[in-house]
Amino acid sequence: MTDPILSLSDVHKSFGPIEVLHGVNFALRPGEVHALIGENGAGKSTTMKILAGYLSQTDGEVIFEGNPIRFDHSDEAEDLGIIMIHQEFNLAEHLAVDQNIFLGRELKKGWRLDHGEMRRRSAELLQRLDCRVDPATQVNRISVPDKQMVEIAKALSRDARVLIMDEPTAVLTERETEVLFEQIERLREQGVAILYTSHKLSEVKRIADRVTVLRDGTMVRSGMVEEFSEHDMATAMVGRELSDLFPPKAEGGAETVLEVRNVSVPGMVENASLNLHRGEVLGIGGLVGSGRTELAEAIAGLRPRDGEVTVKGTALPPGDISAAVKAGLVYLTEDRKGAGLLLEKTLRENLTLPLLSEFGNPLINRRKEEAALSKAIEDFAIRAPDRGMAVGDLSGGNQQKLLLAKTLLSNPEIVIIDEPTRGIDIGTKQQIYQLIADLAAEGRSIIVISSEMPELIGLADRVVVMHSGEITGEVSGADVNEQRIVKLAMGMDAEPEGTAA
């Protein structure tokens, strides 16, 4: 076995008075893919940031090639070839894709920037990742998964000896995940040490050589991947036995609560029509960029659109989100950081933002807000070391839970959830699936947009599939299976018989 290149020895980390890492040990070896798994808030991101020099440990040591090392700045780590992809995007939104990829490491011809070369290499990197974005596009115009690919391209553009990736696949579909894994394989062969986190345990099983499990800031288990089944991993993470991930599917009633007729969003969605019944969980599948998000946003009044959206017989005016909310229709965004949460504000302020009028008029009843927060923390198992902290300091998964709580606060009748479990640990996922089932059982109707095939299949009774901005088909009942969905998503099977069953 090769010597570790980078390791942690008894590392502790406190934020203010709260210690979140209680003595973490583990080592990264060249040519090895090491998976770090654990529940939301277990300390994975914190551990990674310490390794990459973005945070300093309060106690213990970071050891690089056998010597203790202290990074004064992430630059120093980067100079040693330690590269990290953060869980949250680190892209300058106003800059173009290629400008971001080479930010801080611009290529030059003399004193001048070498635009051509940077663009060429960016294109090359993106192509290697099978990502179609034009390197000249401004980052604020590309989709969330594309941003992730840009992040990956940015990391690949640096000469990494250690590559640390914090949930790189959370926002990717299986297809892109495949592409990423090919790259990981390639790097592994080149002798790069790779640290990787994911809540998708099947992925871990597939790609990792070694697995370390964190629970509450403590390392509970570490070993070669062969020693773990997916079930073992989940149990080690959560600290208890997990029952079935998916609750039994609810069958929707006959009453149509939401009718979408010929909705188009210029350049993104064309003539989409669908129905949603009371008590139903409807899935929307498709590849990245197929326009699912745009369709959902158009329905929810967040985008200008053509076509008709009717909630229980009443037409919703386009582009009017408050009308949609009033009609009982809400949308949970896939863009947590950009559109979901106010990162500098507290949990309470975020939770009640969409529904402030319910919390007292004209004066907000603070106690009622606190009560709502307590309930949300309990219902959604939000782990916040401190109730008064800024949401940006929550772990990624806990932010997602808060976003869910916020969206569902108004007790909506129709919920469109875009990537509901993005970055959520397996234990909580189960809770959220249960919650969705419960909502349906209460007679609410849910649309789930998900890039996780098992999630779609496990939750939805009926799945609508999009390709290139158009709805290419619908499957239901026993037809809800991976093969059918993938075919439709690739645009290979648009015949009506697909929907017949």
Partner: protein, 333 residues
């Protein structure tokens, strides 16, 4: 270990406290300097003078706090005040001719001032929210427009309220109840209501949300455009209110009225701890900021400093120092 992120929570907590007391400390220091320089500093007359004259900028700055918190800016308030004062005076003079020196004329005059301010604010707000033009440009434009209009209304000179009417209206600035003069009372009320609105109402929350991240606010079904529009209209209304207190003080308006008030109001807001980029606002901080600015002028008048030419320099230094006190170390933009 230099990493800023690492220190953040600790720094954040302590900096919140420091930020909170920063301007207050500066204010206290100024008061102590004042006391040490002159026995009359704490006299009833001086305290009343300083507070009453702070009222104009103060009332406007409270409105500015909302605009800035919501990520906006208004450079036009100074000229708007001059313009509104001009309109009010012309209207009152015209009405006095017909109705004599009577209370209804004063009340109507006040209404006209409030309404003109509100309308002017609405115009700014509509251009910003509906036409989608950068607030800086819109209000730079209207700043020039209102300043021109008052110059034109006054024919390059001064618009004055009739002498009799002036005397009749005077008590609105110089009078008061229980020894507290009206401008102080009105300023205090505006500040208190403003503070409550900022911290305890949906409107205040929405302003902060919009300033913090407009897209998140929109996705949270906050009526972004409407809230933003309201901040400008509200600021206009408060400019009108400031004018209602200002006109009885000087009884006139000219192209020199309200000069640089916008800078003073914005400075007071920022000194008070509101973020210029938006997302966080503090009305009581603004009040402290206004008082700091007023006190600098007052203290400079208490003694003979080196040269009156250098007043501006001292003012500049104090403004910077007042803010140094509240920022700990972390570099800002």
């Amino acid at each position: 270990m230099t990493d800023a992120t690492a220190k953040k929570p600790a720094a954040r907590r302590s900096s919140v406290n420091l930020q909170a007391i920063g301007p207050v400390v500066a204010l206290i220091v100024l008061v102590l300097i004042g006391i040490s320089l002159s026995d009359n500093f704490l006299s009833y007359a001086n305290v009343t003078n300083v507070l009453a004259r702070s009222a104009f900028i103060g009332i406007i700055a409270v409105g500015m706090t909302f605009v800035i918190t919501a990520g906006g800016l208004d450079l036009s308030v100074g000229s708007m005040a001059a313009f509104v004062a001009g309109v009010m005076i012309i209207a009152m003079n015209a009405m006095t001719e017909r109705m004599g020196v009577t209370l209804p004329v004063v009340l109507l005059g006040m209404l006209i001032a409030l309404f003109s301010g509100f309308a002017a604010g609405m115009i700014n707000g509509l251009l910003i929210t509906r036409a989608g033009i950068e607030a800086f440009i819109v209000t730079l434009g209207t700043m020039g427009i209102y300043r021109s209009l008052i110059t034109w209304l006054a024919d390059g000179g001064t618009l004055s309220i009739g002498y009799q009417m002036g005397e009749f209206y005077r008590p609105v600035y110089y009078g008061g109840i229980a020894g507290i003069s009206w401008p102080i009372i009105v300023f205090a009320l505006v500040a208190i209501i403003g503070e409550i609105a900022m911290r305890h109402t949906a409107f205040g929350r929405h302003c902060a949300a919009i300033g913090s991240n407009e897209k998140v606010a929109r996705y949270s079904s906050v009526a972004v455009l409407r809230v933003r529009l309201i901040t400008y209209a509200l600021l206009g209304l408060l400019v009108g209110l400031a004018v209602v207190m200002y006109v009885p003080r000087l009884g006139s308006a000219s192209s020199a009225t309200g000069l640089l008030w916008e800078l003073e109001a914005i400075a007071a807001v920022i000194i008070g701890g509101t973020l210029l980029k938006g997302g966080f606002g503090r009305v009581w901080g603004t009040v402290v900021g206004v008082l700091i600015l007023s006190l600098i002028g007052n203290i400079l008048n208490l003694t003979d400093f080196v040269s009156p030419y250098l007043n501006g320099a001292i003012q500049g230094v104090v403004i910077i120092l007042a803010v140094v006190l509240q920022r700990n170390t972390g570099p800002a933009r």
